[in-house]
């Protein structure tokens, strides 16, 4: 897989994560129902105070994270600067730590799994793995 294709994959996954985040965020803010294939898990998570760290809804953090990743991968189409990759790595690692903490919180404390959070967690792990893979490869001309 070339760096170009890796960047494309990161971009598409970031856009997908952004759209998911916006959907879940509007449900948090409007207190409206949410499509959930994991039973009442999404509602349990939405209503839990753990889903509002420091008063910030968890999906808002996801939206910001995916936006940064999408912008950085977009900028990578205009420049080969390695600092962009390091920025993506920083964001990806933060994302991995965050989704790991939140998945643990869902399982151990809230005792409910939100389908969208689970998809987003996998999405973030894959993005981070792709960024690391991209870092390990030499830049193409």
């Amino acid at each position: 897989m070339t760096n170009k294709n890796i960047n494309r994959a990161i971009f598409i996954m970031s856009i997908a994560g952004f759209i998911m985040g916006i959907y879940v965020l509007q449900s948090f803010l409007r207190q409206s129902g949410i499509i959930c294939l994991t039973g009442s898990g999404c509602e349990m998570v939405r209503k839990s105070p753990y889903a509002w760290p420091f008063g910030i809804p968890v999906p808002a953090i996801g939206v910001v994270g995916y936006t940064i990743l999408a912008i950085l991968s977009f900028l990578r189409t205009t420049s080969n600067k390695r600092s962009l990759l390091y920025g993506m790595l920083g964001m990806g690692l933060f994302g991995v730590v965050f989704v790991t903490w939140f998945t643990y919180t869902e399982l151990a404390i809230i005792r409910g799994i939100c389908m969208w959070c689970a998809i987003s967690a996998v999405n973030m792990y894959v993005i981070c793995a792709l960024v690391i893979r991209s870092l390990s490869k030499k830049e193409e001309a």
Binding site: K4, I15, I19, I22, G33, F74, T77, T78, S79
Partner: protein
Amino acid sequence: MKFTSETKLFLGIIILTVGIITGAGILFSIPPKPLSKSELISPHTNITGNPSAKTWLVEFSDFQCPACKAFAGTVDMLSKKYPDDLSVAYRHFPLPQHQQAREAAIVAEAAEQQGKFWDMAHLLFANQEALSDASYASFAASLTLDPVLFETDRKSASIAAHIDEDISSGTTLGIDATPTFYLNGVKLTVGMPADLEKAVTDAVAGAKASQK
């Protein structure tokens, strides 16, 4: 900064994504058209308060649902606070996972045959954790209902049909949780009883102001 075809493609995807989300946001922010009374209230629906009040609240509820119990006190308080300015309609939406919910709805309607729907509803919510055939009989006794008539009405096909009609109506409206409230025909998004109190209080105040 060099603008390659890849850059333009990514930019196009970003613009398209933002456009779709903005469009969806505008679409969902358009307030829904209020439903009419005839769409929300059937001829057999139990109503308390002033039936011709300008402010009308419809609740789809389940006697075994804890959230409905949490809201019941506020609904009761509001109907007492605004006896002339508010009507409250109760519609049955017993959820399948609540084993006693449908029977409790039947019991309330059986009590209504002797004019005691709201009293029975109050007892059912108050004793939500202990609903059973024995408790229904004791509720009926405490309300001085005719026990024979009460038991006969509990088996009434027309009462069962009324409840089925309420469930069917709620399902058609897309209700999937209880309690669901409609205020003046508009579905409310209320997380806590205080939200309901505020919405109804504002609506009553608005109706009074428009009369002046």
